[in-house]
Symmetry: C2
Subunit: 381 residues, 2 copies
């Protein structure tokens, strides 16, 4: 089924240290340093951040949501305008999901069949069909550097029969996604997705299945959907040994800084999550010393910044008192500042990990990072 | 009543051309080039703009609202944190209004007396008293480079008796404001405000009154409150001849680019207005060729920027199609981009006027600017 050139490897693993890895993934729109965190630009925009500031914060690659973009402004319109990178002005690497996950979480009257998912748009109620073939067509129209196979994601906890059915359907959709992707130009990539819920045996079977099909990279989907972190990490440990070491590994929709550190320690290379921007909009900062809720009155008179040793200007220079005031007053600037502060922290963490793995000091980095988080925020004055 | 040093002049008029003027106003936090447009950072923040981008767009001075800041986070708190410039991180010149205007427009159960205005806070219903002395105290606590006298502003149309009563009250409040300001350190400024509604005779009397009292600069208040532009310009023409040529002149709460051009032609040096950011949030751009409503479907497939010859990156590089998509999708980034595009246009206009007045080519600049606005936006493709 695979054309030889369509599985060319664009990932270069430069170092490993224990389970942790660092490398470079070359896409048509630029190089992605791994481990990589991909901020989520749902409908072609980051919430509260300019693309220029996303780049300045150390971001190599962003994620776009196929579901949102196919409904508005439509994939055909974005294609006519030169693709998602040109449309948004980001002009860097982009990964798009298959749209399947948002169909499940956002649309009404959805029906999953062997051929496709049908649903009603959350914007205007239009009936839409999304098949693996259409998902790939949409992602190709968007011009995403990395497309994702269509899959079905089951919320946990769930019955084994449901998890198993969705896992097998995802394998068949993976094959169809790959077939649909074969006409893509060289350099563009398609990733397969392992499903299997919280069932080790199903996770292993799914991992073997997607590797048999063969993709440019491999994702783990269907986690961070309600299960404890320990279950998530256990599932990663089931899947990773079955994935080829020379291909990138992507844990979808994850997570907290702690989730990322633990997953990287278990061999994951890529992540995406709305958490840094969503928490930013809710007044919560991620810092070297854990999470800080700026809504708390303890910050009202505190002239100190979130972290005076940070290399990100807003983290180092903006006072807690000002952030508190902005959050309490509902000023957009509060969400804007905290979103960039959080993205910068995530990218700072990724950069630190990449550096530590390169130097073979990941274990030290891991201990120091955890002990800083556990130390917690500075004391009130 | 005036201490000699408290009326030291910090304004240097460098050139005039017809009625138009250009100069430099030196404040404790830096120099303001005039004509100057002051974006409005109501509660210590610009809506949708980082302070760094406000500066990059050519802004010398911003405005803060005393009413909002005295209620939250309170002037005392801002003073303890080092003043409004340090609190916000703007660190440049700031002008604050007296609070009187917002008391009239935002608060409930307000009562105007000779001594003070009493009102209930729109945030928590607390009863607050604002007198000229308290207004100056608050503005001093905020550390504003330019404080405004307390005045009473009447919405137009209004009865002559009401306008006259408010005008005389404002003159008395101006004297009290000045007395309260006399202990301010050197370099800080207090501006008087001419009222008088749409009555030429009352405007002239008010202008003479504030000049008799003596201030560092002179404002025209109570315009852009519902009257036609022709009335506003006529009132400027009544007031300006009574103001000393060597002091800055500030038209409060104005306006459109057209209002600014016409007022500058009649001798005004400073402006503030929420229009560029408010219109930006509503999907409207100010450009060299007039206003553009990005919500209009004509932009949906248009890859062209708002103005390919602009020197502001977002105006020159971001496609109309993307802006249209962001506005239609309600993405914050749409408001953020259009707010900065609009502020950059206002500051570009101010810079063009300063340059033209310096060269003695204001009449040409005026004609070219008006004819560009009248030409209107580029045709749809």
């Amino acid at each position: 089924m695979s054309l030889a050139n369509s599985l060319a490897n664009h990932f270069e693993l430069s170092a490993t240290d224990g389970g942790a890895r660092t490398g470079r993934l070359t896409t048509p729109h630029g190089v992605v340093r791994t481990p990589a965190f991909m901020p989520v630009g749902t409908a072609g925009a980051m919430k509260g951040l300019h693309w220029r500031d996303l780049r300045a914060a150390g971001t190599d690659i962003a994620l776009g949501n196929t579901y949102h973009l196919m409904l508005r402004p439509t994939a055909e319109r974005i294609a006519a305008l030169g693709g998602l990178q040109k449309f948004t002005g980001w002009n860097g690497p982009m990964l798009t999901d298959s749209g399947g996950f948002q169909v499940m979480s956002l649309s009404d009257l959805r029906k999953v069949g062997e051929h496709a998912v049908t649903f009603r748009s959350h914007i205007d109620g239009t009936k839409v069909e999304l098949s693996p073939e259409r998902s790939i067509e949409v992602q190709r129209l968007l011009g995403s550097d990395i497309a994702m196979q269509m899959d079905e994601c089951v919320r946990l906890p769930a019955e084994r029969a449901d998890i198993e059915r969705a896992m097998h359907l995802s394998l068949r959709w993976g094959e169809r996604s790959k077939r649909a992707f074969e006409s893509a130009p060289a350099g563009y990539m398609l990733f397969g997705i392992a499903q299997g819920g919280d069932m080790p045996e199903l996770r292993r079977a799914s991992a073997r299945g997607i590797v048999d099909t063969g993709f440019h990279g491999y994702a783990i989907g269907g986690l961070a959907v309600g299960e404890p972190q320990a279950v998530m990490l256990a599932m990663i440990e089931e899947v990773v040994p079955h994935l080829p070491a020379d291909r990138p590994r992507y844990l979808m929709g994850v997570g907290t800084p702690d989730d990322l550190l633990e997953a990287i320690r278990r061999g994951i290379d890529m992540f995406d999550c709305v958490l840094p921007t969503r928490n930013g909009r809710h007044g919560v900062a991620f810092t070297r010393f854990g999470q800080v809720n700026l809504r708390n009155a303890r910050h009202a008179d505190d002239p100190r910044p979130l972290d005076e040793d940070s290399d990100w200007p807003a983290t180092r220079d903006v006072s807690r008192a000002y952030l508190h005031h902005l959050v309490k007053s509902g000023e957009t600037l509060g969400a804007m500042l905290l979103s960039e502060i959080n993205i910068a922290y995530y990218q700072h963490l990724m950069a630190g990990i990449r550096d530590a793995v390169s130097r073979g000091t990941f274990a030290d980095f891991y201990e120091t990072t955890r002990s800083n988080w556990e130390r917690g925020d500075i004391l009130p004055r």
